[in-house]
Symmetry: C2
Subunit: 735 residues, 2 copies
């Protein structure tokens, strides 16, 4: 690696993961930079595992040197490096091109359809197949088929070939065994995006990365670009391999330095875009709504002002002149102190459409965040309910947003808690493109000190049916596919958990969350356990000693239920926000109870929870369509795990589980800690099985998780025992 940085962990793309593919004789057919990337990957894999690589169909475009190559030089741990002079691309007249390629010699073809001449090795039936029953492969899809001992990946666009390549990596030897009927693969969601809350300049409170738990930023350091280009290239490769195709490169809270990325520091953004483009990842930018004032020197940022519109048009033109495939803008407006259209008496549709109009001619989108609420609430005011805010602000605007506005909605109505109901905004805005925002960075789920595999939670969110059991899921709404029901399609977006930590994510097992996010965004129907299997097989491909099933079994034991374990030892029954306000790590039961943040639990000596019913509470339950409005309204019908989110109940209230609320609190907190003990003990079984650095890092963090979980258990149990006076039915120690 250049830049003097230590080489980061290979994550789920160690050289060994390419063994099956790299041992084959591979033909890459097609043209363009992304096909170059595919070919470089193949060359690198073959160099490491004894295969051979050829290339055909390369046009004469500048920068796309026709190439084949075999064998390639020894691989590095983090994949091919195009800048590495040791990776040579032989000229077209290299003798290996002359080898016979029909029949035996070739095991795998990755071919871009429509690139002439079609290489003779590609099976005729595969090239002719019209891609299943439901239309073309599109910009990112691919067809995978295996006939006559030849595996073939076909795509209509270069990105499809790239995704097909990584599908082969996932399949491993299975991709080269037996026959495989032609199967099309297409992403369910058009945009699968990570938001980096990375600051360019170190923020005095939030640091280099807001809610970052993995060291510094991979993009920025102390006000300037980080400078580790190899790291960024490796990052792009990881993203592509799990299906992510867009990122924003700076925090949604845009400071003075960060604002300038849009104008005089655009080159810094372009440099990132240049590196990530070769893995099909487009770059987006968080901008400040006040940019016309703070950057343009205009007297106003009023979205209906002609000068403001002109400024955004001209500025955006300059952005696209520099970065032709620029993705668009991300905006946090009128939220937690960020400027927005309210300043000018305009609404959020006015604000979002202003930017959307500037982006539309260039094919860009604006991600407009719906995270707008009163962050200076008075805790004494029981009529204001932060959970209502996004719906109250945005539902009336449905239909008014331009086609290239994506309204970005946090999955829950409050803020990334381990348990919330799914946001009612999703059902309320059928005429608006939506993005659901997840949080891969573990702000409220253990900050990458706790092992907490979040895919089961995300899967629940994506599988939620806003209009009831027979209707579409959230994933259906986001997937822009034809079909009945409301919704205009949208994106899946998540806040990144990546930093310049050697393990990318602080906790090596948190890499599984990053991987799973990409996979769920590609296919929301994937089972979390199956995704975990993929990740395990890629990340830990060859245990050095012992039972080959041990690693897989251990990782499932540690991770499968880890999110529910986290839920158990932290805030009970959906009540949320019992965290330490200083950083959101560890317990602070009353930490937010008398604050301005609108996140209260109202525990007293008799009971706990927030009455959000229409009948007697804030009315939030009424923001859902039936049947959920009725289900949530009723303390009898409300799911246990959301009871305290919707209802203030006595400690003696009996749950569906048969337990009382107070006994549930005690039981789950004792159980949660026991489960962490089991995780910690189970992990020890890998001490001499996996890479020592990974083992040690995880072992260290499991000890901290146990310490912290114990603290949660004791504080929560003590707090509620002091308040309720009800002893534990099982007589365990409560302090």
């Amino acid at each position: 690696m250049n830049g003097g940085e230590p080489e980061p962990h290979a994550a789920w793309l160690p050289p060994e993961a390419f063994r099956a593919l790299g041992a084959r004789r591979v033909l890459v057919h097609g043209d363009g930079p992304l096909v170059d990337t595919v070919f470089d990957e193949v060359v690198w894999a073959c160099a490491g595992h004894g295969g051979q690589a050829w290339r055909t169909g390369v046009g004469a475009k500048s920068g796309d040197a026709p190439a084949t190559g075999s064998p390639a030089p020894p691989a590095t741990g983090s994949g091919p490096a195009a800048d590495d002079p040791a990776v040579e691309r032989p000229a077209v007249d290299d003798p290996v091109v002359e080898r016979p390629m029909v029949g035996g010699p070739v095991d795998l073809v990755l071919a871009l359809r429509g690139t002439e001449p079609v290489p003779p090795v590609v099976p005729v039936d595969a090239t002719a197949t019209p891609v299943g029953d439901d239309g073309p492969l599109g910009d990112e899809g691919f067809l995978l088929v295996r006939v006559d001992d030849v595996t073939v990946v076909l795509a209509d666009a270069p990105a499809g070939l790239l995704y097909g390549l990584f599908e082969l990596v996932r399949l491993g030897e299975a991709a080269f065994t037996g026959d495989r009927p032609a199967q099309p693969h297409r992403p369910a969601l058009r945009r699968r995006m990570l938001d980096h809350w990375d600051n360019v300049a170190v923020h005095p409170v939030m640091g280099q990365v807001e809610r970052g738990y993995a060291g510094g930023s991979i993009f920025w350091r102390d006000g300037v670009p980080h400078g580790d280009r190899d790291r960024l290239r490796a990052y792009g490769r990881l993203l592509a391999s799990c299906g992510i195709n867009a990122i924003s490169v700076n925090n949604v809270n845009v400071g003075a330095v960060e604002a300038r990325l849009l104008t005089d520091r655009l080159d810094d953004v372009a440099e990132i875009a240049d590196l990530l483009r070769r893995y099909g990842v487009r770059v987006h930018l968080s901008v400040t709504f006040a940019a016309p004032v703070v950057l343009g020197g205009l007297p106003t940022a009023d979205p209906l002002d002609d000068g403001v519109r002109d400024w955004w048009d001209a500025t955006t033109r300059r952005v696209y002149a520099r970065i032709p495939d620029f993705g668009g803008y991300v905006v946090k407006a009128d939220s937690e102190g960020q400027p927005g259209p309210f300043t000018y008496g305009r609404d959020h549709a006015d604000g979002a459409n202003l930017l959307a109009d500037a982006l539309a001619p260039h094919g860009g989108v604006v991600h407009w965040r719906a995270f707008v609420y009163d962050h200076r609430q008075d805790w004494r005011d029981r009529t204001t309910d932060r959970a209502r805010a996004a719906y109250d602000h945005f539902a009336p605007l449905d239909g008014r947003f331009a086609d290239n506005v994506v309204l970005q909605v946090k999955y829950g109505p409050v803020d990334f808690q381990p348990r919330e109901p799914v946001s009612p905004v999703i059902a309320a805005m059928p005429a608006t493109r939506l993005a659901v925002e997840l949080q891969v960075t573990q702000e409220y789920t253990g900050q990458q000190w706790h092992a907490c595999y979040l895919a089961p939670w995300w899967s629940e969110v994506l599988g939620f049916r806003p209009w009831g059991p027979q209707e579409r899921t959230v994933a259906d709404v986001l997937a822009d596919v034809p079909g009945p029901g409301p919704g205009r399609g949208g994106d899946l977006v998540a806040v990144s958990n990546v930093g310049d930590d050697p393990f990318w994510c602080g906790h090596p097992l948190a890499q599984a969350n990053l991987y799973a996010f990409g996979r769920l965004a590609w296919d929301p129907g994937l089972e979390p356990g199956a995704i975990l299997d993929e990740w395990i097989d890629l990340t830990f491909p060859a245990p050095t000693v012992g039972d080959p099933a041990l690693v897989r079994e251990t990782l499932h034991a540690v991770l499968d239920d880890s999110w529910r374990t986290y839920e158990r030892y932290t805030a009970p029954l959906g009540v949320g926000f019992m965290v330490n306000p200083a950083g959101h790590y560890g317990p602070g039961v009353d930490g937010y109870e008398y604050s301005r943040w609108g996140t209260y639990h109202f525990a007293d000596r008799d009971g706990v929870g927030v009455d959000r019913t229409r009948a007697t509470g804030t009315g939030f339950a009424g923001q859902y369509p039936p049947p959920w409005s009725q289900v949530y309204e009723s303390p009898e019908r409300c799911p246990d795990e959301l009871l305290l989110f919707f209802h203030h109940v006595p400690y003696s209230h009996v749950l569906h589980s048969g337990s009382t609320v107070i006994q549930h609190i005690y039981d789950t907190h004792f159980a949660g800690v026991q489960e962490v003990v089991a995780m910690r003990d189970r992990w020890r079984g890998l001490a001499d099985v996996i890479d020592r650095a990974v083992y040690d890092r995880v072992a260290e963090r499991l000890e901290e998780q146990l310490r912290c979980a114990t603290e949660w258990r004791d504080q929560i149990n003590t707090y509620f025992f002091r308040k309720s006076g009800v002893p534990d039915a099982r007589g365990r120690r409560i302090h």
Copy 2:
């Protein structure tokens, strides 16, 4: 002022305060730099108010030019500036010396006894008087007498003359009216000291001044000296005028940059010492116990290691070579992460004596802080009691400290709360010199946003009788005067509330705390109300309009009871530490309840308070000698205001006041806010009476005080209502 700084507020030394003195014909007799300072003050005062000044008895020392002067140039707001070339010192042969000085022409003589020739104007009986019945005037005392229309201040040492001068300023016209029998004035305590918790480099968490609420440091800015020499001179003048004679110039938490003040950055300290010396203030330095390692490169800082002793000896010699009147070292050792003798298996006597031995040949002292406790306590562990820590650590060491060690004990056993019992260490260490440490900076008393006149609280502390009602007070113990009872005398020390704010203290009325601290250290028997009168008369000498009593009455109304008001609306009955952990401003009832800091209230649905009895609690009450050990042990005899410090009682417990604990909580919190409303309203009466900038600053802060007091009231009342379920007997609104 130089340095481009705005001229700071004159505090209690505006030119007008010198009117009575400055209108007189004054002779200054004596020799030396401090007499120069006295003479400069007189010249400046006479220049502003029409008087005349002469000087006699000046020797031939370099830099002490014989001088008389009249009239002097116009005064600046902040007193005479010796560097100002406009203040000339006429030569000895100036004709004014020839004026007849016996009888009519001279109104005031300030004379240093023993300086020949005695000027003929000095009344013979005064010069002959052997200073009352109890010995000499000492280094800082003076005799004040008025006979035959001549006021005379006599001193045996220059500092006495300086303090006599400021006594005249305080007396104003009264110093020049009628006869006044000869009265000696001597400070009760030998050392009256302010500790500045100022960092040289800005600390990433604590900032430029730890627990500073008045802007930056007057000494340091961003790693280098602040550079405003006029400000430091003005500060020295303020200190001398209220009797303070020592300061430490850097935080007791000594960082890497600060450590070097002892060695290669000693010049920075010397520069401060040079400026403050002319007002009789000696400079001390906070040092790190690890200095031999971090500065000296030694392998150890073991106090019994010969190399370590040699290093401290040599280092201290260099300090005194540069600053001959250097005061000594201040040390926070083995406390909150600071290094100390425990690292080497030594005790605090070993550690303190190491430094004391190095300082002894030069007349320096070491202030060794007794603030040593386990700051990583487990809240679940009810056997550990932070209140016990100082006694447990230090009482066994009584008698082992060198004579020039001053053990510096916080006034209460925990940490500067608005109400604590007086530390039991004071009674426990009769063979040790002690300093009681107060906190002028309002860390826990409103951070100079709240008007909180602390002299009544300090007066209670100083008047406490550790061995019972018939025995000596804390002030008696500290005052090193002959008399019965244990104790070896000591100092009064306080953490400064001064910064580079234009009003010195953020809140203009917080200047009264600084003034009162100095006055109480000089004479602990002064009444807080009388001190306030002095401060008012000096600070607001001439109301421009209206009733001349209005300012005095208003300030008394706002300040007299303000500490008890603060106590009422914050933490009840001595329970302490219900503050927001993020900065100690505003309420956070459970903020420290589950922390590692050892500060808990143990409130549950039935009661509140800490059982510190011997019978059933931590045993802390047993650290006091009788009768206090019995008084505090008993919930019936324990004073109401300390009840929850010593006892866990039910909410229904009836206080001596006749109220229950829960009703007391409600009543005092409602009353406290009402009192702040009254303070705010009362202040408005001064809108057109006093300086607008002072008025506005105070008015702004009273609004914030009201907001914050209301927050305290509502959070405390709501918290205890939710826990106890007991409604307010008077039916007021509790949220």
